[in-house]
Amino acid sequence: MSDIDCKEALKKLYEYLDGELSPTDARDIEHHLEICAACYPEVRLTTEYREALRRAAQGQPCCPEGLRHRIAHIIEKERRTPP
């Protein structure tokens, strides 16, 4: 494990939270965040942002029924049309 500083940790914070880092890099960041009080507010801020977006994502509309049926009809028509 290598020691990283705040700048490095915050630079890779999104990638870490997005699960895009290698296990080694992820461990380095975790280790830094566990012991660094200065990074804590930024981590909280980013986590709250992600939670808010995740919440909003769940409240998004579904495809309207009319469109769903229109598409099924179009596909059906395409299937019956000889190439």
Binding site: D18, E42, L45, R50, A52, Q58, P64, H69, I75
Partner: protein, 204 residues
């Protein structure tokens, strides 16, 4: 309404790996993506219809087992960009000034305005007070190149690699757009929270 995906039933029998089984269950996701790209329900419906027709006709080019959702997003985005190009060309004939639209959407400041954390709510408690409509309002106000990465990542949960394929852009570009897009969105959400009175800024 939730995020549950509902299959469309057709009169033909459908097997594993068929268009019905792989592509149609993503209708909700494609519709949501189209809605964020176009900003209008009727334009989104037209775009989804075009996407699925194109996807059906190109189904033999889809590699089974790869993620159909991001393949459909690619088709949807390409159809949207083509439509936008057509609109731009038409607008240019009417008024040449409209051609400047894309340029004015690009932020001039490369540095994230938010630059880390807000002064009056350093740990971001304000996010909990923002209703979904305000969040979508802020997302929709982002310049297109940032809006699409934020939507694909934070709302639709695509990986960086999948986004790179959808956007036909290098991984580094995806990462930097996502970073800037998120910072921009955080800043806008913060200002919305201030406007709504969730955060009281101190007088100078």
């Amino acid at each position: 309404m939730g995020r549950a995906e509902r299959p469309v039933t057709t009169t033909e029998p459908t097997g594993a790996g068929s268009f019905e089984q792989e592509a149609l269950p993503h209708l909700d996701a494609v519709y949501r993506f189209a809605l964020r790209l176009t900003g209008s329900t009727s334009d989104a419906e037209d775009l989804v219809q075009e996407t699925y027709l194109r996807a059906y006709r190109a189904w033999d080019q889809y590699t089974p087992g790869t993620r159909a959702k991001s393949w459909l997003f690619t088709i949807c985005r390409n159809a949207y960009l083509r439509q936008r190009e057509r609109d731009t060309r038409r607008d240019q004939l009417v008024a040449r000034a409209a051609a400047q639209e894309d340029d004015s959407n690009v932020p001039h400041n490369e540095t994230p305005v938010f630059a880390g954390r807000p002064h009056y709510d350093p740990e971001g408690d304000f996010y909990r007070s923002l209703v979904d409509e305000r969040i979508f309002e802020a997302i929709d106000s982002l310049p297109p190149e940032f809006r699409e990465v934020v939507v694909l990542s934070d709302l639709e949960d695509l990986s960086y690699q999948e986004m790179a394929r959808v956007l036909d852009a290098p991984l580094g570009t995806v990462k930097s757009r996502l970073f800037r897009g998120r910072k921009l969105l955080q800043e806008r959400l913060y200002h919305l929270a201030v406007e709504a009175g969730y955060i009281r800024e101190r007088q100078p």
